[in-house]
């Protein structure tokens, strides 16, 4: 018989319940805030459902009617500089934070101040998709953001906002504040990787993030007990070493008390917390019908929960304490309902073309359709006046430099001059600068700003995204291999790349993603892609692909200065190459959107990037064709250098796009399309391309070589173009 010793989790897991003494002792002003906030939120959501019923809300309206106690109880334990974010069901969290920010103390006699009226109006406008909304109508019900109020943005990807909240918490901590962040999500999101990865990461780094689980028992129609072995979801916390609380979410005071303990824990620097509040949404996932109408729960169950309504509870307790009478309670409700009707009247009117009684959105409130793509990215005005250099005209001393040393060198220089730069990724802090030496020496010089992450790309990429949205720090996130973008796809493509546009087009996202490209290193099908083509599908991302040490320095400096997310591609073949770079000067920039002509030629334009620049130059030498080799440097649709491309195409009339990777994820397809649309009359043959095979490169050295393009394939490609010359 082995000896069995019971183990206990290192972190506490407790349930908090309010007592009659707690209610008796509660600050009357706190209770008034609770009651007022909940009435405002409920009346607001009832209005939204009413408008949804009239067909005036485009898309889903996820109501939280019934579960206001969790959000209100928790937000009242926060201060204005604390942050919150949430999920698709986020009206109540957003409103609680906004109301607390605008009206820190509610007056039940005069519930809606002018400022609050404006905030409520802009919230409803956003939900209706109108120009006056917080996100100019782009975000709608599921993307509510008001950074000033600490409302960091609600999120339509389940669990998607959690890594971003972790980044906000990192920034709060490292800016030296006592502030905390609360990320609200539901029982369904508790099981998704982003959340669990973020629990692990924030616990490892003691970040002040509260994982606030609104356990309303149903993920759409699926009961929590069906999908997890531990339906007491706060039980997740101790497994990660996170102190955890469980509380009755229908009791706002209990939530407040639990949250007070949790915030105290976080403000004391003890790391993240989990607070699980069991709540109940009276309606279905979205829309104005109860869940029982869809058959996944009973009317009896719903009636039993309604008996425990949080508004009724606070009203009863306040009346019992003589803080309110029945008429006073009714008057609070009436003020909220009237205020919402007044706000609605600002936005909807009788529909002159509809049946009697039908209403419509006032036409002049819609955004201008021309606004559709405004603010996908910034206008790059932050680069104005910067000193740009090119290797050919550089006046300082140039010395032969290893590419990888330029990578580490410029980052070291930037971290010296800019304390906001933070490097994070797997093993970036060890192994003498990560797996390739790209961060060599940085950890010793800047121990707090070089972060070796757990193996959880989605969490740490999102954490970087949260830092960028906060704005106090500039994250430089490293992906050890390019194919990991798929692992972090939600954070990179859904969150970081869309954030600016989705929330109205004005928020800066200064985020740099360094991605290694490792084709040809024997790492096989899941590590060998060229990711440029995939990144290029995303409008919000800028992409640079430096091919020389000199360019790396200038392009990285520009990337770090831009207020847009920038992907910096680095090829391992280049790491070990050498080229000229400044002996001293690491402070110059390379102009945004400027390609480099590496060889002038008359007969053929080769458009290429990264390691294929050198392969193309070699191939041109071998074939003797008078080709112009253009190193694109900036690859995304917004930054690519159409002037240089156009000038070359009009001169040579023949185009060969050269890249290394496989066909399916390749970069050149969109470029070929754009070239034929822009320069059709200048083309003497179809745009030709060099790329790898169909399948991802496999491990076998021979098969791997056959799967990607190098000099030999460029020679073949040039041959095809020459055939097209005719003559």
């Amino acid at each position: 018989m082995p000896q069995v010793t019971p183990l206990e989790a290192s972190a506490p897991w407790v349930e908090v319940t309010s007592t009659p003494e707690d209610w008796a002792a509660a600050d009357p002003a706190l209770l008034a805030d609770m009651l007022g906030q909940m009435h405002l939120i409920r009346a607001f959501e009832e209005l939204v459902l009413q408008l949804a019923r009239e067909g005036l809300v485009h898309g889903p309206a996820h109501s939280s009617i019934g579960q206001e106690g969790g959000a209100v109880g928790s937000v009242l334990a926060l201060g204005p500089s604390d942050g919150v974010n949430g999920t698709h069901r986020g009206h109540h969290q957003f409103l609680a934070k906004v109301i607390a920010y605008v009206s820190p103390r509610l007056d039940l006699e005069k519930l809606v101040s002018e400022d609050l009226h404006v905030a409520l109006r802009r919230t409803l406008a956003e939900i209706l998709g109108l120009a006056d909304g917080f996100g100019k109508g782009r975000g709608g019900s599921m993307h509510l953001q008001w950074m000033e109020a600490g409302a960091l943005g609600t999120n339509a990807i389940v669990g998607g906002g959690v890594p971003l909240a972790a980044g906000n918490a990192w920034a709060q901590k490292h800016a030296g504040t006592q502030d905390v962040t609360v990320t609200y999500f539901g029982d369904g999101a508790t099981n998704i990787g982003s959340v669990l990865e973020s629990m692990n990461l924030t616990a490892a780094w003691d970040l002040p993030l509260c994982f606030f689980i609104e356990n309303n028992l149903y993920a759409v129609s699926t009961h929590v007990a069906e999908v997890t072995g531990e339906p007491r979801l706060s039980g997740r916390g101790p497994g990660f070493g996170i102190a955890s609380w469980r509380v009755d979410g229908m009791d706002p005071l209990a939530v407040y008390l639990a949250m007070q303990q949790a915030t105290e824990h976080m403000r004391a620097g003890k790391g993240p917390t989990v607070v699980e509040a069991e709540v109940y949404r009276y309606f279905h996932q979205n829309g104005p019908f109860p869940g029982s109408a869809f058959g996944y729960r009973s009317k009896d169950e719903e009636a039993a929960w309604r008996e425990r309504d949080p508004i009724d509870r606070v009203e009863r307790e306040m009346i019992a304490r003589g803080l309110l009478d029945a008429d006073g309670a009714a008057a609070v409700r009436k003020q909220a309902v009237d205020a919402m009707a007044e706000i609605a009247a600002l936005m909807v009117e009788d529909d002159p073309d509809g049946k009697p009684g039908t209403r419509r959105i006032k036409p002049d409130l819609w955004p201008d359709p021309a606004f559709v793509d405004v603010g996908v990215r910034g206008d790059a005005s932050e680069l104005e006046g910067l000193r740009t250099e090119e290797e050919a005209t550089f006046s300082g001393e140039l010395v032969e430099t290893r590419f990888i040393d330029a990578v580490a060198g410029v980052m070291r220089r930037r971290m010296e001059t800019d304390e906001s730069v933070v490097v994070l990724g797997e093993d970036v802090h060890r192994l003498a600068g990560g797996t390739n030496g790209a961060t060599k020496g940085l950890k010793d010089a800047f121990p707090d700003r070089v972060l070796g992450t757990p193996i959880s790309e989605n969490a740490f990429a999102g954490l970087g995204g949260g830092m960028a949205l906060d704005g106090r720090f500039k994250p430089v996130v490293e992906f050890m291999y390019p194919d990991f973008l798929w692992v972090a796809a939600d954070q990179i493509f859904n969150q970081v790349a869309k954030a600016r546009h989705m929330f109205g087009g004005e928020s800066k996202v200064p985020f740099v993603l360094r991605s290694k490209v490792a084709t040809g290193t024997g790492y096989g099908s899941q590590h060998s892609m060229d990711p440029a083509g995939i990144y290029a599908t995303s409008a919000g991302l800028r992409i640079v692909a430096p091919a020389t040490p000199f360019d790396y320095v200038g392009l990285m400096n520009t990337a770090l200065r831009l207020d847009d997310p920038v992907v910096v591609l680095e090829h391992v073949d280049l790491y070990t190459s050498t080229g000229l770079a400044p002996a001293e000067d690491l402070d110059y920039f390379i102009e945004l959107g400027k390609a480099a002509v590496r060889r002038s030629g008359e007969d053929l334009t080769i458009l290429t990037y990264l390691s294929m620049v050198q392969h193309s130059l070699e191939a041109v030498e071998q074939t003797g064709v008078d080709a112009e080799v253009v190193d694109l440097r900036w690859l995304d649709r917004a930054s690519i250098d159409w002037d240089t491309i156009g000038e070359s195409v009009r001169k040579t009339n023949n185009v060969l796009i050269v890249e290394q990777g496989t066909l399916g994820t390749s970069y050149g397809g969109w470029l070929a399309d754009e070239i034929q649309r822009r320069f059709f009359d200048w083309l003497d043959q179809p745009v030709q391309r060099v790329h790898g095979g169909e399948a991802s490169p496999s491990i076998s050295k021979v098969l791997e070589r056959a799967a990607h393009a190098r000099t030999e394939e460029v020679v073949e490609g040039i041959g095809r173009v020459v055939e097209g010359f005719g003559g």
């Binding site: 009339n653 009359d681 083309l683 003497d684 055939e723 097209g724 010359f725 005719g726 003559g727």
Partner: protein, 427 residues
Amino acid sequence: MASIIRLPEVMANSTEAAIATWVVDEGGEVAVGDVLAEIETEKAVVEMHAEESGVLAKRLVEPGKVVAVGTPIAVLTASAGEEYDLAALLGDGDGAAQEPEVPSAEAVQAPGSSGSASSGPASSGPAPAEAAEAPRGARVFASPLARKLARENGVPIEALEGSGPGGRIVRRDVERFLAQAPAPAPAAPVPASAPAAPAAVGELVPHTPMRRAIARRLTESKQQVPHFYLVAEPRVDALLELRAQANAGSARRKLSVNDFVLKAVAAAFRAVPEANVAWTEEGMHRFDGVDIAVAVATEDGGLLTPVVRGVDRLSVTEVSAAVADLAGRAREGRLRQEELEGGSTTVSNLGMYGTREFAAILNPPQATILAVGAAVEAPVVVDGHLEVGRTMRCTLSADHRAVDGALAARWLAAFTEAVENPLVALL
């Protein structure tokens, strides 16, 4: 049995044309010779006649749409309501290899064309490079750049031989063609991107096909044909006197000065037949009769040169009637294609506008063109005495490849002789 009617090659070098009007409605019966449609070519609106009788089952081309020569434009069935398989008729199916019915006017082809204008596939098969030679009149495969260069240089794309993949006409083919031209035409000064409209004032009126043809042909002529010019100033007192007498008589129509000029031109060619020639790469073409093209300005700013046949054999009255008929129909756009073809020379007369003297650009492949000014009173020295006579300055432009100076001078002397002795010329 249904058949396809294709756009005929209505004139040499014409590559495309538009249906100006459909004369026969869908379902309408047609007999051989009936006018099916009016076709607007670069030079004229011509009538297209039915070559078979039947029912016009379907029109395939909308009026106004410019299509390439050889394009199917209609389906003709033997009887009304007859079923037919359009795809098969168009050659998408088994009939793909069938030679389309294109008029056999290919003898008159542009230099260097040798019938290989298109060697791409006839249908949109998946592998153009492997496709067989397409019949003439089918799609021409050319790179966008080659088309642009050809357009800018006035080179008909069909005139080019494609050396690119699958016979595609590419830049080098256009460049080679241009390099072979006797006087390399400098590329038209076309702006790099958008066509630069003249600044601020005025408007840009799109070119008609005729205007483009005039521009192209005359540019080619002036650049590629070595012109030289001789001027004569015959007295026309006798000619005018004769004309006055004729018009005073019972003549059914008023004769013009130009009618007499045409007869004089014919007389000169009869006297100097060596000048009745045209340069071709293969050899000197000698004309048998004297067919004279007459330049006619049309109201829409165009220029047509219908040909009066056998002027040497016609009376001046017949010449006059023929010219009036041709000029009238030219202005109405109703010339037949053959009326625009041939001719050993052209007479261009601006005398009616008071123009004293001018020189004309040759109308290829003709070797001569006579520019006729106004008949005016002028001081004339006769036997040492100055008197007032009436003269008419005439400028002969000649193609030096075909007609040397002395030959041209002899011809011009014969012409002067005929003008000054009109009765002889008319005999």
